[in-house]
């Protein structure tokens, strides 16, 4: 069997159905072999970064690892942003790169780069294959590393001569079921300690993150059961949205820099914080020295290095979220099945306090009949798509935060956004990956006009494979979040944040063989969205929104959770609570 054949044999044995890629000199033997493997569909992207983000979207919406195949040199370097993105957000990717033949490595050969060197800090692990007989075991190991423990990207660099060379194929060892590396590294006493803390608390909060989603659908089920068994409030990070229903009364909305007033104040004032699969990121904690000063903190995480990294915790439970939560849920059920009711009085005052925060309606905004407010656009999009099983991706910036605030998710794996790295240009290719994994579902990229131009070329991919993704651009002609920061922190010096000479997105859509729709006025928004949803083709929706709307609420830089800005002071004075649109 040749190296190229071994590559496909591994992919088949790993049940890979789709790969995203772009051919080039150093991977031609693998591309040559593609024709013999009808079970595997190759999606040709227009740029290797697009392949990476598409693979990420595929992985996040399907729970399976995403696979990309690119060539050496620029193929590999173009994929670096996507690999780093996947590393930050713990997304399982397997990246296969071609490399110049072994005898040319180190000679500055054409399209040579030190791929394993460049990708070492942005992968969980990478391999340069120097012996064809090790290729199959390395590749199987690559899948194992990507998908077990805290998931993440891996890379296998295969020189061209290895792709041609004949070698032995070795079958994978016993099929691994989920997280073999780390299932549960704490002991049952820790579970009892969790229970004790839960019982003692009068101001508790669950703070959940992407780890719940990564742990799989079971984790989501246990989380919902736990929240119901305790009656405690719950907030979620950007990445954790969907693990708990967004419209449930116990859900306080997202927390963090653009989180709700009630979620952030509850985090600040709580006496017990139960962190489940989140990592105390700086967008979440705000000023770290004043972060939740009065609380006992429990941290449940599969990655021991996440414990005590940013915030010291009182009790760490290292393990897969679904296994830990299952233990906690069954312990409560066994010892105190009626806990939520019997404990109701104990946390009643806490809930009352939360309700007073909620009344601030921190996601409110002043709507307009003249110009489409971006928040309103997301709300209408939500109302008109919530009846379907909808998948949302985003780019990065204001629109991303508005999407997170105003689109309510009820299921996991429906929300794909670049959180850790904050990669503009993520959403469009990610939507492609999501649509490939979920061919009959509605997939929408809530985008900003600046971000989406970074990977716009992938519309061509969408057209080629008849992927009816909807690119819903909140077009304010500014790099909105940059503009907002310049307004608030840099004396309104709007340095280079305005995009002059934007393309006509409707014509651009047509040029790509897609459908272009534009909405200018609030009154026409619903009918235009309906028009978009009725099209079974890729659509670019140019939603022309207010140019200077800012994203609130906001924890200003260097401030703790309880010092949020709810709106610009100017607006605060002018707008009565009644004037704000209810969410």
């Amino acid at each position: 069997m040749t190296g190229a054949e071994i590559v496909f044999k591994v992919l088949e044995d790993q049940n890979v159905r789709h790969i995203f890629g772009y051919p080039g000199g150093a991977v031609l033997p693998i591309y040559d072999e593609l024709k013999n493997h009808k079970k595997i569909q190759h999606i040709l992207v227009r740029h290797e970064q697009g392949a990476g983000h598409a693979a990420e979207g595929y992985a996040r919406s399907s729970g399976k690892p995403g696979v990309l195949l690119v060539t050496s040199g620029p193929g590999a370097t173009n994929a670096v942003t996507a690999l780093t993105d996947a590393y930050m957000d713990s997304i399982p990717l397997v990246c296969i790169t071609g490399q110049v033949p072994t005898h040319l490595i180190g000679t500055d050969a054409f399209q040579e780069c030190d791929t394993t060197g460049i990708t070492r800090p942005c992968t969980k692990h990478n391999w340069l294959v120097k012996d064809v007989n090790k290729l199959s075991s390395i590749m199987h190991k690559a899948f194992e590393v990507a998908t077990t423990g805290r998931p993440g990207p891996v890379l296998v660099d295969i020189p061209k001569d290895i792709q041609f060379a004949k070698g032995k194929y070795i079958k994978p060892k016993e099929k691994n079921n989920g997280n073999v590396n780390i299932k549960f590294n704490s002991n049952d006493n820790d579970i009892n300690s969790v229970l004790e803390l839960i019982k003692k608390s009068s101001k508790p909060i669950f703070y959940t993150g992407g780890g719940v989603i990564n742990s799989g659908p079971k984790a989501t089920e246990f989380l919902r059961e736990l929240v119901s068994l305790t009656g405690f409030p719950i907030t979620s990070t950007l990445q954790g949205l969907g693990a708990y229903p967004g419209n449930d009364p116990q859900f306080l909305g997202m927390l963090g820099m653009h989180g709700t007033y009630e979620a952030n104040n509850a985090m600040h004032d709580c006496d017990l914080m139960i962190n489940i699969g989140a990592r105390f990121d700086d967008r979440i904690t705000g000023k770290i020295d004043e972060f939740s000063p009065k609380s006992k903190k429990i941290h449940i995480d599969i990655d021991p290095s996440s414990i005590n990294k940013n915030v010291k915790v009182d009790l760490a439970v290292v393990g897969d979220v679904k296994i830990v939560l299952e233990k906690v849920v069954s312990a409560i059920k066994k010892k105190d099945p009626n806990f939520a009711n019997s404990n109701k009085q104990n946390i009643a005052a806490w809930w009352d306090l939360i309700e007073t925060w909620r009344k601030k309606n921190s996601l409110g905004y002043k709507n307009s009949n003249e110009v489409i407010k971006p928040q309103f656009a997301v709300q209408r999009l939500y109302e008109l798509t919530k009846a379907q099983d909808t998948f949302i991706t985003t780019e990065v910036g204001q629109h991303q935060m508005w999407a997170a605030q105003h689109y309510k998710f009820n299921k996991p794996n429906r929300w794909m956004t670049s959180g850790g790295l904050g990669t503009m240009g993520y959403g469009l290719p990610a939507a492609i990956g999501v649509q490939v994994a979920n061919p009959d579902k509605l997939v929408i990229d809530i985008a900003g006009e600046a971000s989406v131009l970074m990977t716009m070329q992938e519309m061509s991919t969408a057209t080629q494979y008849n992927l009816p993704i909807k690119i819903f651009i909140l077009n304010n002609q500014w790099m909105g979040m940059v503009r907002q920061w310049q307004e608030l922190l840099h004396e309104q010096n709007y340095s280079e944040s305005y995009t002059a000479a934007l393309p006509d997105f409707v014509k651009l859509a047509e040029a790509y063989g897609c459908v272009g729709i534009r909405a200018n006025k609030p009154a026409e928004l619903d009918s235009k969205i309906a028009e978009m949803l009725a099209v079974n083709k890729p659509v670019i929706f140019d939603c022309v929104v207010d140019k200077v709307e800012n994203c609130y609420p906001m924890i200003p830089s260097g401030k703790p959770h309880n010092q949020m800005l709810l709106g610009s002071q100017d607006e605060e004075e002018k707008i009565s609570d009644e004037g704000k649109v209810l969410v």
Binding site: H125, N308, S557
Partner: protein, 179 residues
């Protein structure tokens, strides 16, 4: 208002010196992974010593002298533990509880009287003369880092021509080994 997207920690914690010992698969790129982790995350490396210690199992032992707050030292250990070729990580305090040694090769080039003086200075430490001519000596000295630092300072006026140091290596005391 702080003009940054990030907050700054205002609490200062005590910096401690520690020896991190890492057992790794002896494969290409492994040292780059370990060292890259340190530079990428802003950890310090004061010295580094690495060699294969188990040929059969293909294991190398990397000894890193580092400094940081207790929280950072714990992070270093946990982050190293996540690297695929890493088998185990030990964190020894850099004090009397740990056996520590560094070896130095020291070349003195000078007149006879100076050479004799130099040799006298070395007597305080475990040393061997591994090369000698009429004009020069090469000493091999094995001692603690701070002792070698001191010795070198004293040898400076006596014609210290060249120094090569290994970086510290470490081992637990007594019959115990690190599992």
């Amino acid at each position: 208002m702080v003009k940054s997207a990030y907050s700054f920690a205002t609490k200062k914690e005590k910096i401690e010196n520690h020896i991190i010992v890492v057992w790794v698969d002896n494969e290409s790129g492994v040292l780059a992974r370990v060292v890259g982790l340190f530079s990428g995350r802003g950890y310090n490396i004061d010295s580094l010593a690495v060699a294969e210690v188990d040929k059969k199992k293909n294991i190398s032992r990397i000894t890193i002298s580092t400094s940081g707050t207790p929280q950072v030292l714990e992070q270093i250990k946990l982050q190293l533990g996540k690297l695929i070729p890493v088998h185990k990580v030990a964190n020894f305090p850099a004090n009397k509880k740990t056996l520590l040694r560094e070896m130095a090769l020291i070349k003195i080039v000078s007149a006879k009287t100076q050479l004799v003086k130099a040799k006298k200075l070395c007597k305080k430490y475990k040393y061997t003369v591994i090369d000698s001519t009429k004009k020069s000596y090469v000493f091999e000295v094995s001692a603690l880092k701070k002792d070698i630092d001191q010795l070198l300072k004293k040898l400076q006026p006596l014609g210290l021509a060249s120094v090569s140091r290994t970086g510290v290596v470490a081992m637990t005391k007594g019959s115990e080994t690190f599992k």
